[in-house]
């Protein structure tokens, strides 16, 4: 069972993602934001992180860069309400991105692809 960490400062998003991904058979943990996130990743060793870009206290793209530097091949899927983030080249360090929606079909598809890529490489 793959372990997924959902990082988002909005509680209802954490709940939604958590419930739906658990139904898919994933082991899901959640985090509110950046403080001690790297430490949590180190301790919990998730197989994949779903990361919000715009959090009140944290810039998800900076967090992405920190994650990539410390956990080189850990899959990270950016989750965003707007796709303007793509203007920032830092976003290319993500495996995929999804636009937030109550329909998680796209997120589930990207999670599957990212986990398959991890296994292959």
């Amino acid at each position: 069972m793959a372990k997924i960490m959902v990082v988002d400062d909005e509680e209802h998003i954490r709940l939604l993602y958590s419930e739906e991904l658990k139904e898919e058979g994933y082991d899901v943990s959640t985090a509110e934001g950046g403080y001690k996130l790297l430490e949590r990743i180190e301790n919990e060793k998730p197989d994949l992180v779903v990361l919000d870009i715009k959090m009140v206290d944290y810039d998800g793209l900076d967090l992405l860069q920190d994650i990539r530097n410390q956990f080189y091949d850990l899959p990270v899927i950016l989750s965003t309400a707007y796709d303007t983030f793509k203007e920032d080249m830092k976003s290319i360090a993500a495996d995929f991105y999804v636009v937030k929606s109550f329909d998680l079909t796209e997120l589930k598809k990207k999670i599957k692809m990212a986990l398959e890529a991890s296994i292959a490489s």
């Binding site: 091949d73 080249m89 290319i92 360090a93 890529a117």
Partner: protein, 406 residues
């Protein structure tokens, strides 16, 4: 292939080497050298550094300009024998010297850059000392720059080896000592690599070796003082694509197991420089003619190499009026995959195969130009990313045609 060395400062050890490959760059090498020296002093002042010009026995005074450029950093000049020309030869000489000097890191910057700043040296070099083994450049480039990279090398490398290195033939890069040793001794080195195939060879080997790769934003657009033609000359095209296909045969055990792709670490943001890349003039008519006029020459070969439905589709594209010209991305992916299989199985002479791909590439490039003409750089990047996904999704087609992978 080293014929000549001039080491006026008698450098015997160096932690960090900046290499500047050249061939008749007397007009430009002084600028690259001065910027490299400033970068080394500003950002690596505590390290023992050297700048090496690895030259192709230039007859325009490149050596003299390089050695006379004022610099507090010591310099070494290396050259191939007269008549031996090739960027790969230059880099091989550089790497051999770097290994001899026991360098921990080697940075390569072209000798004809006017966009280079000291920041390039910092951003290419620092990731090596942070533990990465290979640093590829990330430039803010015009959407029509690097057409071979955009339409062939990046999507194919990414789909095959599973690592997203956006500019795998950027030319400016950095690598660590262990990779330098690998480059020096790897049995895949050949005459094609020694010419224009060296950049994709270096990137591919880094991926194949499982070296941690970082892409570094160098802060300014890459402007060559001697900008070449938009359409690459045939030798540069065949050397680059030929090297890619040669490595594909050798590393089939690796890429056959790869599914989808993964990003790399990135570095160098927050540099505070935003500069628009110089515009690139593209002749749609020239691209169209290059595509259409080669049908007579290559019709028989294409009929042999390509499946009927692909060949017929090309015929339909040929008949399209310019206003509606379109070369579908999935068709392009299938053509490249089919060509790689034909190259492996030697369905035709390999050089002739590579040459016959060039007009198809021109057609694909025309289609890219038309589809992205109203797009911003970022939108065009997204278009390229989508094409890469199509390559990854089409990879099972390649696996089905390739045959035994072991």
């Amino acid at each position: 292939m080293l014929a000549y060395e001039e080491n006026p400062d008698k450098v015997e050890r160096a932690d960090l080497v900046v290499g500047i490959p050249s061939h008749n760059e007397a007009k430009n090498i002084g600028h690259s050298t001065a910027q490299a020296a400033k970068g080394l002093l500003d950002h690596f002042g505590g390290r023992n550094s050297v700048i090496i010009n690895c030259d192709n026995h230039s007859e325009d005074g490149t050596k003299e300009v390089f050695l006379q450029t004022t610099s507090e950093v010591p310099k070494v000049y290396l050259s191939t024998p007269p008549g031996i020309v090739g960027r790969g030869y230059n880099l091989k000489n550089l790497i051999a010297k770097a290994v001899e000097l026991q360098a921990q890191a080697v940075i390569v910057v072209s000798g004809d850059l006017n966009g280079i700043t000291p920041l390039w040296i910092k951003n290419l070099g620092e990731p090596i000392f942070a533990g990465f083994g290979f640093v590829a450049p990330l430039y803010l480039q015009h959407k029509y720059e690097g057409a071979v990279g955009n339409s062939i090398v990046y999507p194919l490398t990414r789909a095959l080896y599973g690592r997203r290195v956006r500019q795998p033939i950027g030319g400016d890069c950095a690598f660590a000592a262990n990779l330098a040793e690998t480059y020096l001794t790897h049995p895949t080195w050949n005459d094609t690599v020694a010419q224009c195939g060296v950049d994709i060879w270096m990137t591919t080997l880094a991926i194949y070796q499982g070296i941690p790769i970082c892409q570094s934003f160098v802060g300014r657009p890459k402007n060559h003082q001697n900008d070449g033609p938009f359409v690459p000359p045939e030798p540069a095209f065949t050397h680059t694509v030929g090297t890619l296909l040669d490595l594909m045969m050798l590393f089939q055990d690796f890429w056959g197991r790869v599914k989808w792709s993964k990003p790399t670490a990135i570095y160098g943001f927050g540099v505070g420089e935003v500069e628009t890349p110089a515009p690139i003039e593209v002749s749609e008519d020239e691209l169209h003619q290059g595509f259409v006029q080669c049908f007579d020459r290559y019709q028989q070969l294409w009929e042999t190499v390509l499946e009927n439905n692909i060949y017929n589709k090309l015929g339909e594209i040929r008949e399209l009026p310019m206003a509606h010209f379109s070369f579908p991305s999935e068709l392009w992916a299938r053509i490249l995959f089919t060509y790689s299989v034909a190259y492996k199985k030697e369905v035709a002479d390999r050089q002739e195969l590579l040459k016959s791909l060039l007009p198809l590439f021109l057609g694909k490039t025309l289609s890219f130009v038309k589809k992205t003409e109203r797009m911003s750089i970022q939108q065009a990047e997204e278009y390229i990313e989508n094409e890469c996904m199509i390559f990854e999704e089409t990879k099972p087609y390649l696996l089905g045609k390739w045959g035994n992978l072991s």
